[in-house]
């Protein structure tokens, strides 16, 4: 069937409304076929059973309805009126306008959530108007420092700084996670590497600075473009080296390519000596104070490279500050996400009758059952619901 290259995608959305429904239009229309039977021969064959997409749409709707039913508090809508208090007269019936409004509100949580979403959407499309409307919601998110709490100076800087580390943090974590999972074999030497990482970062910064200086010098020699390219190349080069050099413990052994390597090795020299101390906190950490108590008594096995445990580098104070001052997520943002990671494994299916694995699918409605016994039981229900 040539459809001029257009591929029809069956929609799985169906809408529930009394009396009628949107149904994805795919396959021969039964109603039209009944009016104008084009070919009476093999009519039974043409009146196909439901297509796969139809079955799955039906299943989807069923799941959705089931979940809604499960989420409800009560089976039936109980409208219980509040009983009058025994003996107590309702003396004070005067409420403030706010309270009266709240008490009379018949809104459910779903209503409130919709209102909030609408408000957020409005804030996105028309910030000026929304800013006037929003008072609590937005100012909370935007200016946590506006509160007159007498908190000292750094709060302002932390608020402004919160944006950048928040963006930076996830990338760093992901790279480290992948590398850690790959490197579980090289566990033993990691502690030293971890301690060295901080210094490495400093070294990388130093290297970049040095490269910039070099670039400036070359700029003076009127080779502007080439120098910038070189600097950029070096910056790029120094970056991918980072994770790989995490595997190797000794940074000193890295091949000295440029003069920056010299600064690199000198920079790593001192902290590597310090790496033997079991200190993972940054010394100036104010959020989590430095461990002040006496370290545990040394053990002869401490130096054994096979027993050394790896502790990932502790986040910097700024990072923690940003985390602590971050505004709360909205209700929907905090909901557990369903990403590709979760969809990696197929969903488990269970028999709808007895609860064992659903190994057989009903042809008519797509329900899962375990074996013939349950299929028989299901058929009876299926026939009453959908007809033969």
């Amino acid at each position: 069937m040539n459809n001029f290259g257009v591929i029809e995608v069956a929609s799985t959305k169906t809408k529930n409304a009394p009396g009628w429904a949107y149904v994805p239009d795919n396959g021969p229309s039964l109603a039209a076929a009944a009016l104008q039977p084009a070919n009476r021969k093999r009519a039974a064959r043409n009146q196909t059973a439901l297509s796969i997409s139809d079955v799955s749409a039906r299943q989807d709707t069923k799941i959705r309805k089931d979940l809604e039913a499960l989420d409800r508090d009560i089976h039936k809508d109980a409208n219980i009126t509040i009983p009058p208090k025994p003996g107590a007269s309702r003396a004070q019936n005067k409420h403030t306008p706010n309270v009266r409004k709240i008490l009379q509100s018949q809104k459910t949580f779903a209503n409130h959530l919709d209102d909030y979403q609408a408000l957020l959407l409005q804030a996105e499309t028309n910030p000026a108007m929304a800013a006037a409307l929003l008072n609590a919601a937005q100012s909370k998110a935007a200016t946590p420092t506006a509160v007159a709490r007498g908190s000292p100076a750094p709060s302002a800087s932390s608020a402004s700084a919160s944006a950048t580390p928040a963006i930076r943090a996830p990338t760093s974590t992901t790279t480290t996670t992948t590398t850690t999972s790959k490197r579980s074999a090289a566990l033993a030497k990691r502690a030293a590497a971890a301690a060295a990482k901080e210094s490495r970062e400093a070294a990388a910064a130093a290297a970049e600075k040095a490269a910039a200086e070099k670039a400036a010098a070359e700029k003076a020699a009127a080779e502007k473009a080439a120098a910038e390219e070189a600097a950029a190349k070096e910056a790029i080069k120094s970056e991918p080296e980072d994770p790989s050099s995490g595997n190797d413990v000794e940074m000193k052994d890295a091949p000295p390519t440029t003069e920056t390597a010299e600064t690199l090795s000198t920079a790593t020299g001192t902290p590597e000596a310090a790496a033997t101390q079991p200190q993972a906190y940054p010394a100036d950490g104010t959020i989590l104070p430095v461990y002040k108590k006496a370290p545990p008594t040394p053990h002869p096995g401490d130096t054994d490279s096979l027993l050394v445990s790896h502790v990932p580098p502790f986040p910097s104070d700024d990072e923690l500050r940003a985390l602590l001052t971050a505004p709360p997520l909205s209700y929907l943002e905090a909901r557990a996400g369903w990403g590709d990671d979760e969809a990696r494994y197929p969903v488990r299916m269970f028999c709808e009758v007895c609860g064992y694995w659903g190994r057989v699918r009903c042809i008519k409605c797509g329900a899962r059952v375990c074996a013939l016994d349950c299929l028989q039981a299901h058929r009876e229900e299926c026939v009453t619901r959908y007809g033969l």
């Binding site: 039936k76 409130h112 609590a136 488990r348 709808e352």
Partner: protein, 455 residues
């Protein structure tokens, strides 16, 4: 820390109220109690009268009698009972009902926990990621309707940090150690009636970007059990209370789901497997209440043939249900919600999602200090299963410790009570005068800020 309270007291003009009412307003039950200063001179001397657990609902039984809040104790016949709850999805939505319950419990002349709001400080635990409108409603009700002298609304899970967490873990330490509050770092999993939340907490402050919520809670599981029973046994849809009792007493978290499921299968057509006939150690008989002699259900060991005879009418006095896979399939929803088609990850995966929002340097300390609270953590095997599942997702060398406080239901309340005695409470609470001066938006911002960084 002890001195902080006194200094605060001297510096602030009027002394803070000597009584603090601490409420953990759950969707199913309210946990409420007082923290009082015993000695007026010394603020360290406080007395805590433990929380009272109050059903947070208006219930109506089949004789059309209604019970509000703790009246519910008088109810004996739980068949066909209907509830109206003020809290929806963990948040107070219907203040008409909530006000009625609070008034009867705390403010009326004959209230069981009577107090005068104008001389009381209120500390209220709320669920994280609330809607601003609902928070504003709550603040307005507290100040304008009840008129509490001072008030703090904090995230419930973070109150748990004000407990001796290492004591719960039984971490080896010097015998005379006094736990410093709040605990440095914990990962708190709160699995309650409405949902399950994961909150990493650093020094008593929640790490907001990493808070995650799984929409599986006690209610969903009860409803699911109701559905399973209605398909396989009786129609229990009008008896949520009975089904809930059954869930609490009979369900457990399976440590070997596949194996257990295999044991409860009857087999193919005509076949009856041995494990199915003998029960396989999983099947249990549940004797339903008959609301004449027995008001609560009873779990019994499975006796082959009893329920069949009961169904035939040989033993007419008891209604017996045989629970097989229902026992572990229901709590399994916490670990794999996709079993009922929910597009959400299980609890262990959710922990990973929450951690992914944090720098990797925090992971080891969080993973070694996982605390589970809330009624669902009482399922047998819950803690062990969670620990295994999280450990499976982590490198071998990583320490994963999961622990449940002795009473996970009141744990948040006890934490909040400790918080009330801590200097942080004085810092965070807002008085009625301040509310009247600055308005509700200011209060909401201050509560949202929490402790901030520098303190």
């Amino acid at each position: 820390m002890a001195g902080g309270g006194k200094a605060k007291r001297r510096s602030a003009g009027p002394a803070p109220p000597a009584t603090t009412l601490v409420i953990d307003n759950g969707a199913n039950t309210i946990k409420a109690g007082f923290v009082r200063d015993v000695n007026e001179g010394d603020s360290d001397q406080t007395a805590v009268d433990g929380p009272r657990i109050i059903p947070n609902c208006i219930a109506r039984d089949r004789h059309r009698r209604t019970f509000v809040g703790s009246d519910f104790e008088k109810c004996k016949d739980f068949g066909e009972i209907a509830f109206r709850r003020p809290v929806e999805k963990g948040f107070i939505v219907n203040w008409e009902v909530q006000k009625e319950i609070w008034e009867r419990e705390f403010f009326d002349s004959k209230a069981p926990q009577k107090c005068d709001p104008s001389e009381t400080r209120l500390i209220l635990a709320e669920q994280p990621n609330s809607l601003p409108a609902l928070q504003a409603h709550c603040d307005q009700m507290v100040y304008e309707e009840f008129g509490f002298a001072s008030y703090y609304r904090g995230i419930g899970p973070s109150f748990n940090a004000y407990q001796d967490i290492q004591g719960i873990f039984r971490t080896p330490r010097a015998p005379d150690t006094i736990a410093e509050l709040p605990a440095e770092v914990i990962l708190l999993i709160d699995s309650g009636y409405s949902h399950t939340t994961i909150t990493p907490i650093l020094q008593g402050r929640p790490l907001q970007p990493a808070i995650r919520r799984l929409d599986v809670g006690g209610r969903l599981m009860t409803n699911y059990l109701t559905r399973l029973l209605s398909v396989r046994h009786f129609d229990m849809r009008n008896d949520p209370y009975i089904v809930n009792e059954m869930k609490e007493s009979a369900c457990y978290v399976s440590l070997d789901f596949k194996g257990d499921l295999e044991k409860t299968w009857k087999g193919t057509r005509g076949e009856r497997r041995k494990d199915y006939l003998t029960g396989g150690g999983i099947a249990k008989d549940y004797v339903l209440p008959d609301s004449h002699t027995r008001f609560h259900g009873v779990v019994r060991e499975y006796e082959p043939g009893v329920s069949a005879r009961a169904r035939k009418g040989a033993i007419s006095t008891e209604d017996i249900l045989t629970l097989r896979s229902e026992r572990f399939v229901v709590p399994e929803l916490l670990f794999s919600p996709s079993d009922i088609g929910m597009r959400q990850p299980g609890l262990a995966d959710l922990v990973m999602q929450s951690l992914a929002a944090l720098p990797i340097g925090l992971w080891p300390s969080l993973l070694a200090n996982i605390v589970v609270v809330g009624g669902n953590s009482l399922f047998e095997g819950f803690v062990q299963r969670l620990q295994t599942e999280i450990a499976q997702r982590m490198p071998d060398s990583c320490t994963v410790r999961v622990v449940r406080p002795e009473d996970p239901i009141t744990s948040t309340w006890h934490g909040a009570a400790n918080f009330a005695r801590h200097e942080h409470a004085g810092k965070l609470a807002v008085t009625k005068q301040e509310y009247e001066e600055h308005g509700s938006g200011w209060v909401a911002r201050k509560f949202a800020m929490g402790l901030g960084v520098d303190s």
